[in-house]
């Protein structure tokens, strides 16, 4: 067992777990931030996508001890103050989720995309989002929501 202090959504959390415990289990099971989901455990589905210093990362394959001092983690709970990130609003407008299980990860991946590329083409969206699986088949609406959010952000910036 070892003690780790993590900066998640601008709050410090201390947790005592075995070395090598995945960041996903730390976030979900120890700290109760359960918006981040487990889907495959081998970085094939993207359900557990979080940001580490803004970079989209699969929490399932990241050991808690692989984090560097001072790195900032953002989860779906910290994407916006009141669930009002342009992507979250666009997601509702497009009625994107069905079962919704993969959508925390989809949103976190999409948020990183718009951060890096505020007006992505449809092909750029598909390429950037390709690592995030959705079994309900909501891909069409996710693409639409990302395009809506991109247009909205550009119109208001």
């Amino acid at each position: 067992m070892a003690t780790y202090t993590l900066d998640i959504n601008n709050t410090e959390h201390t947790v005592e777990v075995a070395e090598g415990t995945s960041l996903l289990w730390v976030i979900r099971e120890h700290l109760g931030l359960t918006g981040t989901k487990y889907g495959c455990g081998i970085a094939q589905c993207g359900s557990c996508t979080i940001h580490i210093d803004g970079t989209p990362t699969r929490a399932c394959i990241m050991g808690v001890d692989n984090l560097n001092e001072g790195q900032k983690i953002t989860t779906i709970e910290g994407l916006s103050e009141n669930g009002d990130h342009p992507l979250q609003k666009a997601w509702i407008e497009a009625q994107a989720p069905q079962c919704g299980y993969c959508h925390s990860g989809q949103l976190m991946q999409a948020a990183a995309l718009l951060e890096a590329n505020p007006s992505p083409s449809r092909d750029e969206i598909k390429t950037y989002m390709n690592g995030n699986l959705c079994r309900c088949g909501t891909y069409m609406r996710i693409v639409k929501a990302i395009e809506l959010a991109s247009e909205e952000q550009i119109a208001t910036s």
Partner: protein, 725 residues
């Protein structure tokens, strides 16, 4: 209200009518929810002022409507409350939705056998089976409000009307909101059941048929939607099971002491087919699972090689001994004898896996006396909604409380209860501590319950004018019951039809998979129709148009889809369109897709998918479109990529790296859905899109290349083999 049916007396109601059984009526007092055993629950209920078993009013005007069905993305959290609110005449902006208690007597619908009731969200049945129930219950809630207002104002009920959350006196225009009526609420002596004729006419719908945003979407974009795996209870421990990759094999654990020595491990729980481990944390349970040393016995599946089994299935199909007859119309043999032409073809499909994004899980707490249990689970329900827990513990159903959570996908997999009963067995060992059971993705895949592999042998005959005179269909499959749905052709005017199922078993776990047998069966039927059309030089839409002469509703979907797809205008060079029609869960649908093929890689690209459906009254149009989009994409995924294989009975895939699903890069440019306007009873939509895909793609491929794909999935290697044949 003067048109209601004669009412049963109150005593009978308590026994028979849903929605009222909850209450003991004491004149002048609020009805009391007697089904609640827990005092805290009763208190909470009272604060919310139950109006009937289905709805609660708060003094601020908020209305909480119960959803009795599972929410797995199909939209029940909105569609069923919409039906209720429509008849209650509620202000939708004030409606909140909660899962109902899992009490089949009150919240169930008619079962398969007369006189039985079930709670079940499967087979696309939710909207269809609750359409009358929810509307009747909504009308009853409105009736209670009207009766209470009538008594309060001392006027006849007939002089009152309602308008979106208000009761209005038609004589003096006095208004009172539903919330303001709370102090005056009274259960009427009798509560009528409403016939469909007494309910709103479709032309008067304010909510049904409108694009209403789904109630649960906001919690699905901020991470707060609660799935069973998200639960964290005080003192909770974690369970995992190792089930091996040979279905039916029995385990012998050979390193028990090593496992018990792993930090945090609390207990080893042996099952017939698995070894269970309970530990203080999930990572500890998983660490112990990783070092399990287990000797597995042989099983019925030992020696089974899924990719070599088709030759055996072909032999079974060729035997003279008939299987189980599914349908027999006219005389196929006679039609074949007098035929001008005959056509015969075999079609095949491999096993596919549900692959819902949330691997199975549940949380169970059993009391120390082993006499009651509480369960948190995302389930498609089934039976009495108690999920096998009473049987597992040998206790009465009323001692089991099921708390339904959101489902991270169902697709049929969550209509099984294995993942609940397993957790009960673990929790029984840890009483009174709650146990969270987690299936890893590998567990979920290798101990899956697949859509069966099957062989379809079809033959058809035509007369001298090219009319199809007979169709004969033999399906050979592991588990006949799961392989026969969709084998009938009620909407095609083919005078002689015969269908049979020839079962075999190799001990592989199987289950309903979205649209069940429709995927493989409709693929075979619709592909054979295009084989005939090609041979006879008839346009595939024209061929179906002729077959639908006696089915105007089916024909309307064909004409609409053909119009949407510009069927008569050929595709650009290198592309082609294919058509398919089918009925699933009562919904009639025609799908047309446009594809191209990379002849070097064998990869099929779907460019566009158009569909037109007749699903009766459409409760939520945008949600129906979403279901069709999702169903078609899941269909594309299964048709182009997915297969589970066994070697010596052992499942060869384990996770998404070797069981590939459709990704963003593969989505079409457009998926368009049109709904035929209808006032008929709603039908099921969730499974309608998926089975259209195989046949539409295969028929487009035939048009494009002149070659026939006959074995699902159409993976690039198979496509290349067909192109080079």
């Amino acid at each position: 209200m003067n048109t209601t049916t004669p009412s049963l007396d109150r005593r009978q109601f308590l026994k028979t009518t849903s929605g009222v059984a909850l209450f003991i009526g004491v004149s002048g007092m609020l009805p009391l929810a007697i089904s609640c055993k827990n005092e805290k629950d009763i208190q909470l209920q009272l604060e919310k002022h139950p109006l009937t078993a289905w709805v609660q009013l708060s003094e601020d005007g908020q209305i909480t409507i119960y959803n009795p069905a599972a929410e797995m993305g199909q939209g029940s959290m909105t569609s069923l409350p919409v039906l209720f609110a429509e008849e209650m005449d509620a202000d939708w902006s004030k409606v909140k939705v909660a899962f109902s208690p899992q009490d089949v007597a009150i919240y169930g619908t008619e079962g398969w056998r007369p006189g039985t009731r079930i709670l079940m969200s499967a087979g696309s049945r939710v909207t269809k089976s609750y359409y009358k129930v929810m509307r009747n219950a909504g009308a009853q809630a409105r009736y209670v409000l009207l009766a209470s207002a009538a008594k309060h104002w001392q006027v006849p009920m007939a002089e009152l009307r309602t308008d979106q959350g208000f009761v209005i006196n038609t004589q003096d225009d006095q208004r009172i909101s539903y919330g303001e009526l709370i102090p005056f609420l009274e259960m009427p002596e009798t509560l009528p059941d409403f016939t469909p004729e007494q309910l709103k006419k479709p032309k008067d719908f304010r909510l049904i048929g409108k694009d209403i945003p789904r109630k649960e979407i906001p919690v699905k974009v901020d991470g707060s939607a609660q799935f069973a795996g998200d639960l964290r209870l005080p003192d909770m421990v974690y369970g995992v099971l190792e089930r091996g990759n040979l279905h039916g094999a029995k385990p012998t654990l050979t390193n028990e002491s090593d496992i018990l020595a792993v930090e945090g491990v609390l207990k080893i729980v042996p099952f017939d087919y698995a070894i269970g481990i309970i530990a203080s944390s999930l990572e500890q349970a998983l660490a112990a699972k990783k070092i399990l040393k287990i000797n597995w016995s042989d099983s019925e599946a030992t020696g089974f090689n899924s990719q070599e089994i088709f030759s055996e299935y072909e032999k079974i199909a060729s035997e003279n001994k008939k299987g189980k007859t599914i349908t027999e119309i006219g005389n196929v043999q006679q039609a074949l004898k007098s035929a001008a032409r005959t056509y015969t073809a075999d079609f095949k499909n491999d096993y596919v896996y549900h692959a819902q994004m949330e691997p199975l899980n549940s949380v169970v707490q059993v009391t120390e006396d082993l006499q009651s249990a509480e369960v948190w689970v995302g389930s498609q329900q089934g039976g009495d909604g108690k999920l096998g827990v009473p049987e597992a513990l040998g206790i009465p159903p009323e001692n089991v409380k099921i708390n339904l959570q959101y489902l991270g996908g169902g697709f049929g997999r969550r209509s099984m209860t294995d993942f609940v009963v397993e957790c009960v067995a673990l929790a029984k060992e840890m009483t009174p501590r709650p146990v969270k059971l987690i299936w890893t993705r590998e567990d979920d895949l290798t101990y899956g319950a697949y859509r069966p592999l099957s062989l379809q042998r079809l033959s058809a005959s035509t007369d001298t004018q090219g009319n199809i005179t007979s169709l004969s269909h033999c399906v050979v499959a592991d588990n006949g019951n799961l392989a026969t749905s969709g084998i009938r052709n009620a909407y095609y005017d083919i005078p002689n039809q015969f269908a049979e199922s020839r079962g075999t078993s190799r001990g592989i776990r199987l289950k309903h998979w979205r649209a069940v047998g429709h995927g493989p069966n409709k693929f075979a039927i619709e592909a054979l129709l295009d084989d005939i059309a090609l041979d006879q030089g008839i346009d595939p839409v024209e061929l179906r148009r002729k077959l639908m002469g006696k089915s105007p509703r089916a024909l309307a979907t064909l004409e609409k889809a053909a119009e949407m797809a510009n069927w008569d205008i050929p595709s650009a060079a290198g592309r082609a369109k294919g058509v398919a029609f089918l009925e699933r869960s009562g919904t009639l649908g025609t799908g047309i897709c446009e594809i191209s093929v990379n002849r070097d890689t064998g990869k099929i690209k779907v460019h566009n998918f158009w569909s037109a459906i007749d699903a009766g009254v459409i409760v939520q149009p945008d949600n129906v479109k979403a279901q069709m989009e999702g169903g078609i994409l899941m269909g594309m995924s299964s048709v182009l990529k997915e297969r589970i294989t066994m070697v010596d009975g052992r499942i060869q895939q384990s996770n998404y790296h070797d069981y590939q699903l459709l990704r963003f890069e593969d989505i079409p440019e457009s998926i368009e859905t049109e709904m035929i306007a209808s006032t008929e009873h709603p039908q099921g939509v969730g499974e309608s899109g998926t089975p259209l895909v195989a046949c539409a793609i295969a028929n487009a491929f035939l048009k494009l290349t002149g070659k026939r794909l006959r074995h699902l999935p159409f993976t690039p290697d198979r496509v290349l083999a067909v192109l080079n044949s």
